[in-house]
Symmetry: D2
Subunit: 361 residues, 4 copies
């Protein structure tokens, strides 16, 4: 069977390069279309100005691929079956809509449509069923074959699966106070100045706390045929987001309280250990076998030691202990540029493919 | 008037060097006695093995001073009127007791006696009155002229003054959820391995969370003639303590809820701006004029920019905002090796001196 | 006597902020004019967008000062007696010429005129006499009262004084192989991306090696009435320049060979210890008492421990040892944003002032 | 064919853990014996005190393996066919000799026998033929089946292959001035204090420059039946070794001069590109296909981007350019804990195995 032809929008940027890197030899998808802010004769040439930042070289089959200006819809329609979008929020608003209108499914990392109740914000372990809103989206926007799905902000990747595992196990999570220590790569390239992160941490990331408090409610929400995705209402979240001198890996410290039945620490660890969801059942390739890995060592998870667990797609949790103010506290970690960006986008595409929402055109 | 003669126990270690550095030209105290784990002909020679780590050179009058083994009480009695102790907890238990028994006041950084209700754990802005427990301590342990005072753990220096300022302004602080990002110097030298803090943070510091949750209750406690210092009971604290790649400066993110009357954000900032206490009133030399500095910039405080405010003795606060779960959240910072260690010890000694508890022998 | 009125061009940038910071309470100069890429009501407002990065707050007398567009020569002529220029090379070429033409002496950090034989490139300890070329410069360019002096690139500040001290002591330095490890602040703000300096060093700084090899020859050159400053010819230099995760302080490792008489290690250390030059003799305020500090410890100089020696204006040298290939090797360090930028500019202005080249207008 | 049974001495330390990690699923060797400073019931338990620092978990077949005290020769003879030694220099002197005497080949990372002319110091691309000295070693020390081979210091791994490639291509390398920027992992664990490498570099590593200047001469030496390995005489090296805030990857900047025929830059790059030696010809598993990778980008090699090339076994070179003092300068990089430690040891063992020097006992 031939692979689906994938495009990457904003292919030369930090997230775009990650898509190119991670899709190397993907059995279901192959990159056949690349777009950036301007045309280039080859991807190699297009990245030469800012550099190629992945540990391995540019995949041989992408190196010579021509790069089109992202607004060139004709080239896109010619060149691929769907696109991954790593566009900046500002241009994403307009361009993703145009791609979807033109008939191309858009699997997006941008935040432009995260607030739209008809655009599913997928974390496939949690809300794979949200893709049911796609037909309503298509009706609403007059899309024929195209549509848009998005992924949430990278700051919440580390704690949403552990939280959801407890909800799925029947415990009512009531309140969360979350503190994140986020890696520099979350700001892209050039992103944060070295002078902000040598001998320093910055206790502020613009817009990040708002997203961390708001997006989980949509992720946990339910699909309503008329209103689209309706936010979950039973959970209050307070987030403090900081930037630390780490390359990759967002760490979150979580204080959690329950309403009603409160699990024991063993029950929590068991719920995490047994957590398997649709991506695992469907055998999605980028789905980690063990979505939540719990480590018993007192000083784990740590970004440099744990971010690559499950090929960067798993969450590592640790330090579960009683909280003198809430019920429990724990620490969790996920790889922000793999699970939190390009890898998460690929998992979303795999889910859509397994569910027949992505097809050859 | 002649200066009081001060000794420094464990003078060659990280905190000890800081004492030597900060007492340079102190108008009330002069270093006349130095102790370490073994005798040395001079301080210069004693530090040469591990190195001298302060930005300025060893003060000229200390360079040639002889160093005695810390157990040499005779030399101490000969050489000084009181001692600063930077001893390790293990040896502090025994040695500080011996020094006090021998008649020497001990101003300690060690944790050995922090749990003792008859030993005041001083943050002079908060509990200068706790020195009233000293006579009971002397009776209890049979000290004649000697006594022991301690300072709390460095992790809580950043948030205890902002919290106390609100309590002093009449607001009942009910619950705190605190997350710290602590500097490498908090672990002394060699302390943390570079491999733990290059491209990494470590979400665990042994014993630190327990101290951060327990010590504030004693600091806020009240003096009872029979029972010593009785813990404050109206406050629940949950702490998560992490280590970050920062040289100096402990940062804390605080979520706070009130019982009863809740201040407005303006009232909080006002309470902080107006906070002046006994160290300021007594004109103690190491007391910052403005104990709590609030910064309006959205991304402050930051360790590298704010740790030296008030000569490293002030707390810098910022990012005060509503909390969706508790009442407010904010960020605060203090210099862990100045305010949180040697500078804090010197301030304690200045308080004792101003209150006639330290005298020439 | 009233202070000279100083302007700062590009006052809001990294170097400009350093000028504002370092000129705090300067006894000879006071800042009375500020310029940037656009007008602002006050300096405070002008820096608010990018932030104020110095450890201390903006000096009170500068905070409210109006900021003019740099091209507003009338405002400059009204407002100051001379200017410090922290302009980018590109705009410096044109604007510095205009300021000089308009009658204002320009003390510049930019590289635009470093190659001009009629513009002295001052390191006052080495070539204070190069200011003798100013009259020829004024004739050549038709300046009346204005003129331009520049300072060299920051990469060579650390090794030029130790080299010159040996030449001044009568030794013929023949060849230098130099390797620098340069701080992030050398690239300004935002400058280097954090992703380039977390768990990494970058063995390349654009244009830096060329400057490090060429500029010393002009600095060591002699003044010819017709040709301006004529390069020194007896020295070959090879430089490798790298960027390291350090905030401030450029470190250089130097391999040196002599022609003819070769000094002993003691003679080298003595030449450094005794090195005193015109800035010291004239009592310039920013001149370090001891321009070259030699440290005996085997592991010094280090950026974090030594960059502030002599208030950031001294060079710290260490590790002098025999070289199996050349004659000797040693390591040296200077503070790149103080000695290597704004502090060096102020020292140049002080020299000009002491020599009556800067006067009230 | 059954795999050779390998032991690891000092298995719980930094290098030992790397051996355990890298030998995972090795087709020729399997770990069957582990030794440390004291007995433990299992490897898992033995490492729990200090932690397991590899990105992946302990290999399943090693996790439960018993750990013996290193002096237990009987257990070693029972348990393995040869040993990898990651012992500290001090104990290595005695213990490695005992192991060899007892009949076990020792493939060592320690420096204890590097100076012994009868112990080959192998870099298999350069001096595979030095294993010819083993029979003389056995005679000299009265070993029957045992022997010792060592690998050189990690500091020179990055530049010795590029240098040798030029010598092998017929150019006489005359003089080298080398400057290294070495990773923290080179000092093991805990190794360097974080306080030495936050906002800092340290221009000194004890003993490292001496090794970097001396060991290459033995590596390039020739085997003499009577005298053992005789140092190469035609090369003068001067090294400056510094420590930088990098986890893994030693970077070296090299200035090189030739005697006689001087290659063009193209000839140098060609010599590097074509460099293939015995490890490649024998198809050793840990031998990189391309031992020297040249990168054209102006700012490469960089530790974080290039250290893993060739699975951490290749050298990456770049920035070849004319030197104003010598003939050329360039920059090169190798992974110090893979190529420079455990991976290098494994390659040595593979060479010995392919040459029938390692056999089942």
């Amino acid at each position: 069977m031939r692979k689906l032809r994938a495009g990457v929008l904003a292919a030369t940027g930090a997230v775009g390069q990650n898509y190119v890197h991670l899709l190397r030899d993907h059995p279901w998808f192959e990159i056949t279309f690349l777009a950036a802010s301007k045309d280039s004769k080859s991807f190699e040439e297009a990245v030469s100005a800012r550099g190629w930042f992945m540990g391995q070289d540019i995949p041989a089959d992408v190196r010579k691929l021509r790069v089109f200006e992202a607004s060139n819809l004709e080239a896109a329609l010619d060149g691929c079956d769907f696109v991954f979008s790593a566009l900046d929020k500002d241009v994403a608003k307009d361009l993703e809509m145009k791609y979807a209108k033109a008939g191309l499914p858009v699997v997006s990392n941008a935040s432009a449509y995260r607030g739209d109740p008809f655009v599913p914000m997928l974390m496939p372990e949690i809300n794979a069923d949200h893709i049911r809103v796609i037909p309503a989206q298509q009706r609403r926007y007059g899309f024929k074959d195209g549509f848009i799905v998005v992924k949430p902000n990278c700051s919440l990747q580390s704690y949403m699966k552990p939280i959801h595992a407890l909800m799925a196990a029947g415990y009512n999570v009531d309140r969360l106070i979350v503190h994140t220590q986020q890696a520099a790569s979350g700001a892209g390239r050039p992103g944060v100045s070295a002078l902000d992160l040598i001998d320093n941490v910055v206790p502020f990331i613009s817009g990040e706390e708002e997203k961390s408090e708001r997006e989980p409610l949509k992720i946990l929400g339910s699909v309503d045929n008329d209103k689209g995705i309706v936010d979950y209402e039973g959970l209050a979240i307070s987030a403090t987001c900081t930037r630390v001198p780490v390359r990759d890996g967002h760490l979150a410290s979580v204080n959690i309280s329950f309403r009603g039945k409160k699990p024991s620490a063993d029950q929590i660890r068991l719920a995490w250990a047994l957590y398997r969801r649709e991506p695992q059942e469907l055998g999605l390739l980028f789905a980690p076998d063990q979505p939540i890995i719990y480590r018993d060592e007192p000083n784990r998870p740590q970004p440099v030691l744990d971010r690559d667990s499950g090929n960067g797609m798993a969450v590592t949790a640790g330090r579960l202990r009683e909280c003198p103010v809430f019920d429990y506290k724990f620490v969790c970690l996920s790889h922000n540029t793999v699970r939190g960006a390009a890898g998460g986008g690929i998992l979303n595409a795999e889910l859509l493919y397994a569910k027949d929402c992505l097809k050859p055109r």
